[in-house]
């Protein structure tokens, strides 16, 4: 099949269809409503379920219910909507159900605005809902990668019986790029027969619940979930490096759309002979601590710069990974502003002490 020119939001919808999603529950919110528009048409064509719920709360509880019944299920929303879904997220994680959540992040806090942002990093990677749980979180930076990671998210949700979240900023949702679905197929479905609530005629009832009043029983579950997160840290770390192999002086860490802007800035600096490399986390939980530390501790690297469309969120993970062993700097834009390559070039020059200052 030839490549198609698709908006990120439409590509997410098609990728979920390819991944074998059986049900999608949603509530519209800019800048991701085209996912719902696309699936309202596509889901019925493949015999799937499309429901525009009365609210994000309802949509997220429908995800909980459908996942408990053993369906491959997902939703998409944007920041304020994701906050409203956070209660159900905690429950779905607690019940160890596979589900995929996609957050096309807009600027906040509060209702904020509708332009791109990466301000939900901490919410996605450290919780959002209550209790001792984690989402596995992936952060694509192109539309093709958004397609591939959406499909992968369904596989990982099944593998760990744990919700997986994809985070993209508004630009990932709104821009169009060529995408290729060639060779992409649905990941094999988890065997749900031992626990899914599918009607108990002729067998013992299955009960999916999250209330465990016996502390020892609940602690057992806490430990089991902890073991899953440890396994994710061993097996699911993903990242990309760009021009890191020739002793760069400065390492820039960025993810998502911001990493693309950094790539352009790195290219321009290289044309001037300034040696800068980029480290791009693709999984942000688990965070690529060890690979980032290795790149940062290459002797030529004088400092690390984190660039985000926030006031400094992934920064905390980078700080943890570096353990104070390299000077760490931050450059952030907010309010829906996307950093420009020119300002990153200036900032890198400034940090390396050769050129005029940045912002």
């Amino acid at each position: 099949m030839a490549k198609k020119l698709m908006k990120g939001n439409e590509a997410i919808g098609e990728a979920a269809i390819v991944a074998g999603a059986q049900a999608y529950f949603c509530y519209p919110i800019t800048p991701q409503t085209e996912v719902a528009e696309y699936l309202a048409k596509r889901m019925p064509e493949v015999g799937g379920v499309f429901v525009q719920a009365e609210s994000e709360l309802a949509a997220s509880q429908m995800i909980f219910g459908a996942a408990a019944a053993g369906a491959r299920v997902f939703t998409t929303s944007s920041s304020p909507g994701i906050s409203l879904m956070s209660e159900a997220m905690s429950y779905i994680a607690a019940a160890e159900l596979p589900a995929v959540f996609i957050n096309i992040i807009r600027c906040g806090p509060g209702l904020g605005g509708i332009l791109p942002s990466q301000g939900d990093y901490l919410q996605a990677t450290k919780g959002g809902g209550h209790g001792d749980y984690r989402f596995l979180v992936l952060a694509p930076s192109t539309i093709q990668e958004t397609v591939d990671l959406t499909i992968e998210a369904f596989r990982l949700a099944d593998k760990y019986r744990n919700p997986v979240m994809l985070i993209g900023d508004g630009l990932i949702g709104q821009m169009m790029e060529p995408v290729d679905f060639e060779g992409r197929t649905a990941p094999p479905r988890l065997d749900t027969s031992g626990w899914a609530t599918t009607g108990c005629a002729g067998r013992e009832p299955h009960i999916v619940k999250t209330l465990f009043l016996d502390p020892n029983v609940l602690e057992q579950r806490n430990r089991k979930m902890r073991d899953k997160y440890e396994q994710m840290k061993r097996e699911e770390v993903r990242f990309e490096t760009y021009l890191c192999d020739d002793a760069p002086e400065l390492l820039v860490a960025a993810y998502g759309t911001t990493a693309r802007v950094v790539r352009t800035a790195v290219d321009r600096l290289r044309e001037e002979g300034v040696k800068v490399g980029m480290f791009r986390p693709i999984s942000v939980f688990p965070f690529p601590d060890e690979p980032l530390r290795q790149q940062a501790l290459v002797p030529s690297v004088k400092a690390v710069l984190v660039v985000e469309m926030s006031m400094g969120q992934m920064l905390e993970d980078v700080e943890r990974a570096l353990q104070g062993r390299r000077p760490l700097h931050f450059f952030g834009r907010g309010g829906g502003n996307v950093p420009a390559p020119e300002e990153l070039v200036r900032e890198c020059r400034r940090l390396l002490g050769n050129g005029q200052g940045g912002r």
């Binding site: 020119l5 332009l115 630009l171 821009m175 169009m176 352009t264 996307v338």
Partner: protein, 187 residues
């Protein structure tokens, strides 16, 4: 090699579609392409713009603040985007609706009376295709024949060839406008 254009006008002028058709032509030539819309909180009839990037390698920043080329279809767009054209670049102006020019001396300005051309062909809604024809002919950002093939594919399916005939007519008129000097250079 990376080339860029920002198309800018008001809602309803077909700005987004013109950009998409150009991006499809870039794809047809095997290039990397990105189409980036404005999606700010705009009113109906408010400003609309998109940027198309065509490159022979992976496209980095989707935000291009100093595009190589800009095509403005209304006056507010000239005021907003005229100053951003990269020095040496081309500013195309829909002179049917814009009666002023940029005072910049470091860019090339090309006037195309898009509305007049489209109206003369009784296809007043298709000023975007006039603009696309003029743009491709003037900048060669994609091959003219590639763009024609994309129009055939996109419009050929609709309404017994009538849509394609109408689209081609205005597109070719845009091409002629710059090749035959109707799109007069200024100053």
């Amino acid at each position: 090699m990376q080339r860029e254009v920002t198309f800018a006008g008001f809602g309803g002028q077909g700005i987004m579609t013109a950009g998409k058709l150009l991006a499809l032509a870039g794809m047809a030539e095997g290039k990397e392409v990105a189409w980036i819309p404005s999606y700010g909180p705009e009113m109906r009839g408010g400003t609309a713009y998109c940027t198309v990037v065509i490159a022979d390698r992976l496209i980095g920043s989707p935000i291009v603040n100093d595009p190589e080329n800009v095509f403005v279809f209304n006056r507010p767009s000239l005021e907003k985007f005229g100053p951003r054209v990269r020095p040496g670049g081309v500013l195309l102006i829909n002179s049917s609706l814009i009666d002023v020019r940029s005072d910049r001396q470091d860019i090339v300005q090309v006037c195309v009376p898009c509305n007049d051309i489209a109206n003369a062909l009784k296809n007043g809604r298709s000023i975007n295709l006039v603009g696309l024809g003029a743009f491709v002919a003037r900048t060669g950002m994609v091959g003219l024949d590639t763009q024609r093939a994309v129009l055939e594919r996109e419009f050929g399916k609709k309404g017994k060839g009538e849509a394609l005939r109408a689209a081609s007519e205005v597109f070719e008129a845009g091409v002629r406008a710059v090749l035959e000097g109707q799109g007069a250079k200024t100053p």
